[in-house]
Symmetry: C2
Subunit: 201 residues, 2 copies
DNA sequence: TTAATTATAATACGGCCCGTCTCGTATGCC
DNA sequence: GGCATACGAGACGGGCCGTATTATAATTAA
């Protein structure tokens, strides 16, 4: 395997990072002032003062562009968690932190829009899963397995089912749009509902 | 409150039910052969051999039209459930029946598309909730309250949280599109995970 | 220095569908 | 028959799509 320090340079003019950042910024800016529906590629290009073709060259769709903006901006990042000796409080902490990110208006609006796109475009659905849900599932995995090692959580726990219950509940709230978004109290409620079902015997 | 047997007739030519059914049929037909994205009002009108205006006159959007088609067609209906003396098996039965409906390809495709619309259109979001989620939440409510009366379920149960966990999990599976859809086994898993948290002391 | 290659901003283009409007006609009430 | 509204058909302007073109800029290879 070649491990050259300097990346292999392609011939021709290189991609402009100024343009790239400008496009991502324009997309995020527009998202804070417009409905996702009303955002167009042409509008992003005009806002960023960039050629339309420069967008089409690098991003297959508006959704891909926004997903990239979101995963790159710090707004949506969760700092890594250090596991304590208590699996249940670890789980609760993780959820509190997750719900806190999700409660930001720009985040929930973005998730809403991208979930919508994911339902209408199979290719994007897979990308969205990889970029968003996978990490969340892995976080729950990690906490539960640690809890199993500590003998606090039953060894035959269905990790996938638990992850889906937790993420599903918050997602349902977000998408149905009828109740308030998930908060710390909800994290406690969810963990306490699952606690007995998860406990080691 | 007036309770006239004959509905008050508006003047002018009455709405044609043939046209209405034709439009709904065309929409459902197109959904079975096309992606939701590719379905247009013009396409529905042409398929139904109906004037475009006849669609715009009665439905505010493609999504409203499809929601009406879905709620009216038997494919999406769940027969009412008779509660037994065991709240947990009632809950499991309800979920099995719900998941069975949801597992039909046309149903999951429709839910996917309409969830997407609901995220992009606030007005439709409320309508979709009323037409779809409300009934599901009420079903869970009913079962849990019955269980409380039977002293099988703790009286201080957070019914809303349980309903959101259950519907969220199946929704998450459907929308993330990575694992298989929910089935009987999942219904058992979900109920067993929640069982101890719900049980009366 | 020059040639080759690719990116960039700007803009033009055909095409599709939107939602509205306008026909002439049909179908119900009074 | 008069009135009101629905109907099928289609014309219309407008917006955005995604592609193509153009002239220019930036970088590498010879």
């Amino acid at each position: 395997m070649e491990q050259d320090v300097r990346a292999k340079r392609a011939p021709g003019r290189p991609r402009s990072d100024v343009t790239r950042q400008g496009v991502l910024d324009a997309a995020v800016d527009l998202m804070s002032t417009h409905a996702y529906r009303d955002i167009t590629i042409e509008g992003i290009a005009a806002t960023a003062r960039v050629g339309k073709q420069s967008i089409y060259r690098w991003w297959p769709s508006k959704a891909d562009l926004l997903l990239e903006a979101y995963t790159e901006r710090p707004l949506y990042k969760m700092p890594p968690q250090i596991l304590s000796g208590d699996a249940f409080s670890d789980l609760e902490d993780d959820l509190v932190r997750y719900f806190t990110v999700l409660r930001q208006e720009m985040v929930s609006k973005g998730v809403r829009s991208l979930v919508a796109e994911a339902q209408l475009d199979e290719a994007f659905r897979a990308k969205f899963y990889e970029a968003v849900w996978r990490k969340r599932c892995e976080a729950v995995h990690r906490i539960l397995h640690h809890g199993v090692a500590l003998r606090q959580i039953r060894a035959d726990v269905d990790v996938e089912a638990v992850a889906h219950l937790i993420h599903g509940a918050s997602l349902y709230r977000l998408l149905s749009g009828t109740s308030r978004p998930f908060d710390e109290d909800d994290a406690r409620t969810v963990v306490s509902l699952l606690r007995d079902g998860l406990k080691a015997r």
